[in-house]
Symmetry: C2
C-alpha cells in the first residue's frame, strides 16, 4: 500500500512557482523585498497547482508513542508522562493547544504507540500499532510489518483530512524518550557520528547525555539498520510516532497538501519519508530550528531551511503552529 | 519637553520577569522548553508590571518622510514614490496593510516629512515638520529645532495611543532614500566604517552602491555630527521619520508600552532613542533581521536579538506586524 501511494505523489512543477513569482513582482513593492514570504507563496502555489490557493482549514497531527529504550535512563522524565500529556492535549491544556488556537489550526491527537490502554477518551484518535516500542539497545523497536502499519496510519489520516477539506497540515509528537530514536535515525541517515546529532532532549545532565550517546551507538551496532531500506531503519531504531509522521507526509504529498514539519522528532519522521521518496521534500515546510543539535544535519540532508529560530524544544507541534502563521502571511501578501 | 519625558521613563524591574518565569516553570512542560516565547512573556510582564498583561489593541505607526539626498542618486526609486506609497497605505493596498490585518493591528500613517503637500486625505495623520530633508551631502538634514519637533511628534502620538488604550506599538516607515541616513547614523553611532553598514536598499546595483557609500562618507565629513549629542546626529544626517520613530519609542517607554522595532530604518530611529536614554532599550522588541548589512551592528550596539529572520527588506512595519504574532504567542503560552 505504501509503494502504491508513493507512486501517486506528483512532482512539484516549477512553472507554477514562476507564475506565482510573476504575480509577486507585479505588486507595489521592490522585487523580492518580502524575502522568504515570497518563497512561501511561490511554494504554496506550486504545491497546490492553484494560482489562488485557499488555506482555510488547518490541522496539526500530534502522534503519541512510547519507547522501550526509556528503561536505559535516556530521558529526564518517566515513560508514564506520555500518557498524561495525551490526556492534557485532549483537555486543551498543553502548549500545542494554545499555539494551534493562536494559529487557527485544529489539533488531532493520535495514539499510535502509547504503552498500555488509554481507554475510550473523547477526541482521541486510537490507531495503536504497538504498545510502546521495544528497547532498541536490546533489539528492534518493532517488526517491519508494524513499522509499515505506522506509516499506513499516517497515510490514511492524511487521506481522511484531505477529503474533509483541510488545506494545510502540521506534524507534532509526544513520546518520552523519542529524541533517542530520532538521533539514531539522524546518525544513520546523515552518516554523522552519534555524538554530533545527540542533544539533551527535555533537559538531561552531562552524565545522562553521555549514556544516551552510548545507548544510541549500541542500538545502531546491535540492530545494524540497512540505510538503503528506510522501513528497516524505522523498524529497528525508530518509533511509532516517527512512522506516523512519515506516513502523514507521504499522504499529504500524494494529495498535494503542504505539510509543516515541527522540530527534531518530526524531522526524523520527515527524513524517513524523504528516504522513501525524495519528492516528498517539495511538500515540506521546516517550521523551526530546534535546540536539538542533530536537527540541522537532518534539515541539511533534505535541503530544508527552517522558518523560525526561537530556541524551542517542546515538540507537540508547537513550532509548526507558529510557522503556519508566517506561511499564511506569505500567501496573504501574494493574494 | 523631550528631556522631561525621558525623565519619566521607569526602569524595567527584574522582579517582575522573575515572577513571570516562576509561572512559566509551573506549566506542564519541561522548563525553558519554549525558548524565546518565554523570554517574550517575561519581558511583557516586566514592561507592563502586570502579572497578567492584556494585549488587545495593537497599532503600527508608519512614518513617512522624504530625503534631499535622493538627488545624489542613492536610490533605485524617485522621491515621488514616497507620496504614492502613502496614498497606497491609506487605500489599504500595501504590504503593511495586509500583514497588519493578519496580525490584528491597526496602521496609522503619519506624514512627518513628506516633500510637498498631500492635501486633506482621509486617514492620514498630518504632522509634517519638514517638507523633505536637506541633502546631507551638502549640509544638515534639518535644523536641530526641527529634529526635536520630529521626536516630539512621536512622543505625542505614543501618548495619544496610550490614552486610547493601545497595548502594543510597532514602528514602520516609508521614505525613498531613507536607508542612506540610516546607514549614516549606523556608522556614526557604532563607529564602523560606512562600507560595513551600507547595503543595497530596495535594490541598487554595485555602481550605485559604491556611490551611496561615498555620499554617506561625504555627509559625515561635511556635517561632523557630534556623537555625544543624539539630537545633533539626527538633525545633521538623519531624517524626519527616523526622528518620529525615536520619539514614539521614548513615548512608549514613558507609558510602559512595549514597542516592536521593524527593520533597518526603524532601528536607526531606535538607536537615536537609545542614545538619548539607554533605558528605552528595555521596552523594545527587535522584529527581524533585515537584509540590510548595517542592521546587525545597530542591534548589537543595543544588545537586541531579532525575533525573525526572513530576508525581509520592505520596511513599512511589515516585520513588526509579523513579530507581533510571535510575541503574542509567548503571552498566550504564559497565560
Amino acid at each position: 500500500m505504501i509503494q502504491e501511494i508513493i507512486k501517486k505523489i506528483p512532482p512539484v512543477k516549477p512553472e507554477f512557482a514562476e507564475k506565482a513569482q510573476k504575480r509577486l513582482d507585479s505588486l507595489t513593492k521592490p522585487q523580492g523585498s518580502l524575502g522568504r514570504l515570497e518563497e512561501f507563496a511561490r511554494r504554496l502555489v506550486a504545491i497546490t497547482e492553484s494560482t489562488m490557493p485557499l488555506i482555510d482549514k488547518k490541522v496539526i497531527f500530534t502522534f503519541a508513542g512510547d519507547h522501550g529504550v526509556v528503561e536505559e535512563g535516556v530521558s529526564a522524565y518517566p515513560g508514564e508522562v506520555t500518557k498524561q500529556m495525551v490526556f492534557n492535549f485532549l483537555r486543551g491544556g498543553a502548549g500545542i493547544n494554545v499555539l494551534a488556537r493562536h494559529a487557527g489550526a485544529e489539533v488531532v491527537v493520535v495514539d499510535i504507540g502509547v504503552k498500555g490502554e488509554l481507554g475510550e477518551v473523547a477526541g482521541l484518535v486510537s490507531k495503536k500499532v504497538v504498545s510502546g516500542t521495544g528497547n532498541i539497545r536490546k533489539g528492534h523497536a518493532m517488526t517491519k510489518h508494524d513499522a509499515a502499519r505506522c506509516i499506513e496510519v499516517g497515510i490514511k489520516l492524511a487521506e481522511d483530512y484531505a477529503i474533509k477539506g483541510y488545506k494545510l497540515f502540521g506534524t507534532g509528537e509526544m513520546g518520552i524518550g523519542n529524541t533517542t530514536p530520532s538521533s539514531a535515525i539522524a546518525a544513520v541517515v546523515t552518516g554523522k557520528p552519534v555524538s554530533e546529532v545527540t542533544g539533551k532532549g527535555t533537559g538531561i545532565g552531562d552524565e545522562v547525555w553521555k549514556n544516551k550517546i552510548k545507548v544510541i551507538e549500541d542500538a545502531i551496532s546491535i540492530n545494524k539498520p540497512d540505510t538503503s531500506d528506510p522501513l528497516d531503519v524505522l523498524s529497528k531504531i525508530g518509533g511509532a510516532e516517527i512512522g506516523g509522521i512519515a506516513g502523514l507526509i507521504i499522504g499529504a504529498a500524494a494529495h498535494r497538501i503542504p505539510v509543516v514539519i515541527d522540530g527534531f522528532i518530526s524531522t526524523a519522521g520527515a527524513l524517513i519519508a524523504y528516504c522513501l521518496e525524495p519528492k516528498t521534500k517539495d511538500y515540506m515546510f521546516a517550521a523551526h530550528n530546534s535546540v536539538e543539535i542533530g536537527h540541522k544535519a537532518m534539515l541539511d540532508k533534505m535541503g530544508l531551511h527552517p522558518i523560525l529560530d526561537l530556541n524551542l524544544r517542546l515538540g507537540e507541534g508547537t513550532g509548526a503552529a507558529l510557522a503556519m502563521l508566517i506561511i499564511e502571511a506569505g500567501l496573504k501578501i501574494y493574494k
